[in-house]
């Protein structure tokens, strides 16, 4: 009897920090945001409840276009991060010698020691019209005059891939690391080509890492604020910027909260859709034991 009580107590104690974290820092603020999003402003200090904020979102093409654009570009960034990150992760986990592995992994992590803001400013210094790249291209005579490489969508996508690619590499390395090399050898012995081995053995094995990496990267990109705004300049339209504008510039918390809820719902929907379309489920990948 006493024994099970102690067991229960330690379970509760162990569980408490996690439960408090989830309840106070995630569920409670989300409930607050949801509550504000349902509040309609009728006059100074007067409110009623209803779905007017959501209707306003749907009836204004600028808002949902921005949301779709954000989602679309985030998907593109995720795909590019996977394309860039997979070979790197494969090299670190399977090809590099054991001693070099830690060093390579560490090198991937080093950029994380610098803040997002500083990294974005780094890109600005390199890519601006009077920046390093433009000056270099002029010096070697490739271009006649200064070129502006900032303030367009390609730069935003590149900057985002750079910021998030690590979050793709880390889960991939840890899954690929657990793969037995004899699986690959067996594939070759059975007459598989390089491509077949990659498609039938490596990718299925790495799937938990791929799914985890894609979800993290997609969510981070869709919710990022600094990189799209600093690198995108006059044409940057990112949904988080809309949320900031509503909350701070326009004092419109109701519609800002609505946008927040919609961003959460929509990105969750995209993740669900991605899992469905690729025939994966969270249970068979991320949560696989």
């Amino acid at each position: 009897m006493a024994r099970t009580d102690i067991g229960k107590l330690s379970l509760i104690l162990l569980f408490a920090p996690f439960a408090l974290w989830i309840a106070l820092l995630i569920i409670l603020p989300q409930l607050g945001i949801g509550y504000i999003s349902l509040r309609e402003k009728v006059g100074p200090g007067e409110y009623t409840f209803g779905f007017a904020n959501y209707i306003a979102f749907l009836s204004e093409p600028i808002y949902w276009n921005t949301l779709l654009r954000t989602a679309w570009m985030s998907i593109l960034v995720t795909a590019m991060a996977l394309a860039v990150g997979f070979p790197v992760a494969y090299y670190i986990a399977k090809i590099a010698r054991r001693r070099a592995r830690a060093a390579l992994f560490l090198m991937c992590l080093i950029p994380l020691w610098v803040s997002d803001l500083v990294r974005a400013f780094g890109w600005i210094v390199i890519l601006r019209e009077t920046g390093l790249v433009s000056t270099f291209l002029q010096k070697i005579g490739l271009v006649g005059g200064p070129v502006e490489l900032l303030y367009n969508d390609a730069t935003v996508v590149m900057g985002l891939v750079y910021t998030v690619v690590l979050f793709m590499i880390v889960p991939l390395v840890s899954t690929l690391d657990g793969m037995d090399n004899s699986l690959i050898e067996a594939g070759y012995n059975l007459g598989g080509s390089r491509f077949t081995v990659f498609r039938r053995i490596v990718v299925p094995y790495a799937m938990p890492g791929i799914v985890a990496g894609c979800i993290i990267v997609f969510m981070l990109t869709a919710g990022s604020y600094l990189t799209p705004i600093l690198l995108g300049g006059k044409n940057s339209m990112w949904f988080t910027e809309q949320i900031y504008e509503q909350f701070v510039t326009r004092y419109n918390w109701e519609s800002g909260a609505t946008f927040g809820v919609l961003l959460l719902v929509f990105t969750s929907f995209v993740v669900w859709l991605g899992l469905r379309l690729t025939g994966q489920s969270l249970a068979s990948t991320v949560a696989k034991d």
Binding site: T130, E148, K234, Y251
Partner: protein, 358 residues
């Protein structure tokens, strides 16, 4: 972005200090970059050894948003512009009425004090006093763009890809003036104001191609102009005067339709906890010897009778190069924003930002 960083740093510092400095009184100041220079804080703390000053840097929108979030708590003195008092107080009740008898009003420029009184009195109670004023207009590199006259030149194809502006309400108002409208006169008539905004939006969307990028803060603007990437830009005069000190070709041009003038004020947040310290700070920074240090840091003109004479020499030269007597009489002071208008302007700005260009 720099503001955000400074903000984070000061907040961290404030949290750290809150534990240590419990016995002395703290004056928590919410203000603009440059409005609480270190040397002035040092002199103030020497004169009032029992007061410690903590500074948070911000801008108009963020100041109101922060105070609204706490119902006016967390700061003891804030400095929004004079057109951000009336509606914000009416709607969110975030400021405390001021006691004019505690302020040495004799130092203040009577016209500015009256202007702020007219804008910031609600039910007979006064909520703000002026601190510094300045204007928004155009800065141009006269070696490359010698003929710049007004807001319309930002959209002049002659400077394609070489102009910049800040996508906020100022540029909407400036463009409206350049199209021959008077937005302040239309403040009372929402339908007419919307028609005017539509016209302005159209103009600015067509102009987007001409603009290199939109700037967000003084630092962005300075880099764009000093590097020569931009030759004509909307600008705060204070930033322009600083640039003039570094490159004599960068001259502030008050638009021919009149530079738009703002007054940054002092307000006491509703739940401020150090009113006496706040009044002490107000009176302290309005002393002539302190005004000089302050103006050196902000580049703006203090709201005292001889404000321009108290500017440091280089800035005085810049002001004299920019303004003549007629420009000064032609100033257009921002009028109080009636409720609802800011929402219409916000939509217009979103439309401009979302429009595609090359």
């Amino acid at each position: 972005m720099k503001t955000t960083f400074a903000l984070a740093a000061t907040t961290a510092l404030a949290l750290f200090m809150a534990g240590n400095a419990a016995q002395a009184e703290t004056l928590r100041l919410l203000t603009w970059g440059g409005y609480a220079p270190d040397n002035v804080i040092k002199l103030f703390e020497e004169a009032n050894p029992d007061i410690t000053v903590e500074v948070t840097l911000s801008n108009n929108e963020e100041m109101v948003a922060k105070l609204r979030a706490t119902g006016g708590a967390g700061y003891d003195l804030a400095q929004p512009s004079h057109d951000r008092i009336f509606a914000a107080q009416q709607e969110y009740n975030i400021y405390k009425p001021l006691d004019l008898s505690k302020i040495e009003t004799a130092n203040l420029a009577p016209n500015l004090l009256d202007g702020v009184k007219a804008n910031a009195t609600i039910d007979g109670a006064l909520y703000a006093v002026p601190h510094q004023w300045g204007t928004s207009g155009i800065v141009a590199d006269i070696s490359k763009a010698p003929n710049v006259k007004g807001w319309g030149d930002l959209c002049n194809p002659e400077y394609k890809g070489r102009t910049s502006m800040r996508l906020r309400r100022t540029i909407l108002l400036g463009t409206a003036f350049s199209l021959g409208k008077d937005p302040f006169a239309l403040y009372g008539d929402k339908a007419a104001y919307q028609t005017m905004l539509d016209e302005v939006t159209e103009k600015l969307i067509a102009c987007k191609d001409n603009v290199k990028t939109y700037w967000n803060g003084g630092d962005d603007l300075s880099t764009l102009l000093l590097s020569g990437e931009v030759v004509v830009s909307e600008a705060w005069d204070s930033t322009a005067f600083k640039l003039y000190g570094q490159n004599k070709n960068l001259v502030y041009v008050p638009p021919e339709t009149g530079a738009l003038a703002w007054i940054d004020t002092f307000v006491i947040p509703r739940k401020g906890e150090a009113d006496d310290a706040a009044y002490k700070w107000i009176n302290f920074v309005m002393k002539p010897e302190i005004v000089k240090l302050m103006s050196d840091s902000t580049g703006a003109i203090a709201a005292v009778s001889n404000g321009i004479d108290l500017l440091p020499d280089d800035k005085q030269a810049a002001v004299k190069a920019a303004f003549d007597e007629q420009d000064l009489t032609n100033l257009k002071f921002f009028a109080n924003i009636p409720a609802g208008l800011e929402d219409m302007e916000g939509k217009a700005l979103e439309r401009i930002k979302a429009a595609t260009s090359n």
